[in-house]
Symmetry: C2
C-alpha cells in the first residue's frame, strides 16, 4: 500500500529539514549553508514568510517526516484586469524520495491552493541547467511561454 | 534640453492612465478592459497592491504626466540563505514615448529600489513573443538563465 502524503504550512521545527533539502541539490549545494546551528538568515526569512499573508511555505509529509517543500507567493497585479497570480519557488523533495511522484503531488497541491486564493495564473521559473525540470513542469500543464530573466545585485 | 523623468509610487488618480498604457500594447489589448468607468477589478487590485508593504506600483512622470509604469514585488525566500528578491512585472511606457529611453530609466530605478530593499536578485519574465524585450533586458544586465513557465487556471 502506498503511504499517504499530507501537506501543511511549515513550522519553525521544519526549518532544519527544509534547508537540508535545499542544500542537497546540484545547484543548491553551491548557494546554501546547511550547518548547526542554522545560519540566522534562514530563521529571519522564515519569520518574514510566515508573517506575510501572501506567502506560504508548504511542506509535504509522510509518516510525520518532511519529504518535500515549496513556497507560494500570492500577488495582486493591475495586469489581466487586476487579477492575482501565484508564484511557486524553491521546490525540493528529499533525495531519498525522488522519482516517487512527491514533486508532482506537491505542485498539484500548490495549483489547488492557487485556485482557492482566486489566482488566474500559476507561474514559476526553472533554471535552464535543470534538464529534467522543464519536461516535469510541462507534464503538469505549464507552458514555457516566457524567458525567465535574472540579475544578481 | 532633455526633460527630466521622475519616479514615484502610483496614486489612485494614476490608475486610469496606467490601465490605458497596459491596454495599448499588442498583448495587453487582448486581455485588458480600458473603459469608463474602469472595471472595479482594477481598483480592487490597486488597493491590494498599495496596502501591501511588499508590493509597489511605480510610475514614471514627465511634466506631471504619467508616461511609464511597473510593479515591484519584494519576496523573502528560504533559498539563497534566506535572502529577499525583487520581481518586476507589468512594465509599460506610453506609446508616444517609446524608444526614448523611458523604459531603461524605469528599470534602472526599480533595480536601485531593489538594492535599497536589500534584495540579492532582481527577476522578471518576458513573453517569448515580445521579440525586442529579451535584448532590451539583456542590455540592462539581465540574463535569460531560466524558463518562465505559466499555467492558466
Amino acid at each position: 500500500m502506498e503511504k499517504k502524503i499530507t501537506f501543511r504550512i511549515a513550522t519553525e521545527q521544519d526549518l532544519d529539514k527544509i534547508v537540508k533539502m535545499l542544500a542537497d541539490d546540484t545547484l543548491g549545494s553551491k548557494r546554501e549553508r546547511y550547518e548547526q546551528p542554522l545560519p540566522e538568515s534562514y530563521l529571519k526569512a522564515f519569520q518574514a514568510i510566515t508573517s506575510d499573508p501572501n506567502n506560504e511555505l508548504v511542506v509535504a509529509c509522510q509518516d510525520n517526516e518532511v519529504i518535500g517543500v515549496l513556497q507560494i507567493t500570492f500577488t495582486p497585479y493591475i495586469t489581466h484586469q487586476g487579477r492575482w497570480r501565484a508564484t511557486i519557488e524553491g521546490v525540493r523533495t528529499s533525495s531519498s524520495e525522488r522519482g516517487k511522484g512527491v514533486g508532482t503531488e506537491l505542485i498539484r497541491w500548490a495549483i489547488q491552493r492557487a485556485r482557492e486564493r482566486d489566482c488566474h495564473l500559476v507561474q514559476l521559473t526553472t533554471d535552464k541547467k535543470r534538464n529534467d525540470a522543464l519536461r516535469f513542469y510541462e507534464q503538469l500543464g505549464f507552458k514555457a511561454t516566457h524567458e525567465g530573466m535574472k540579475m544578481k545585485l
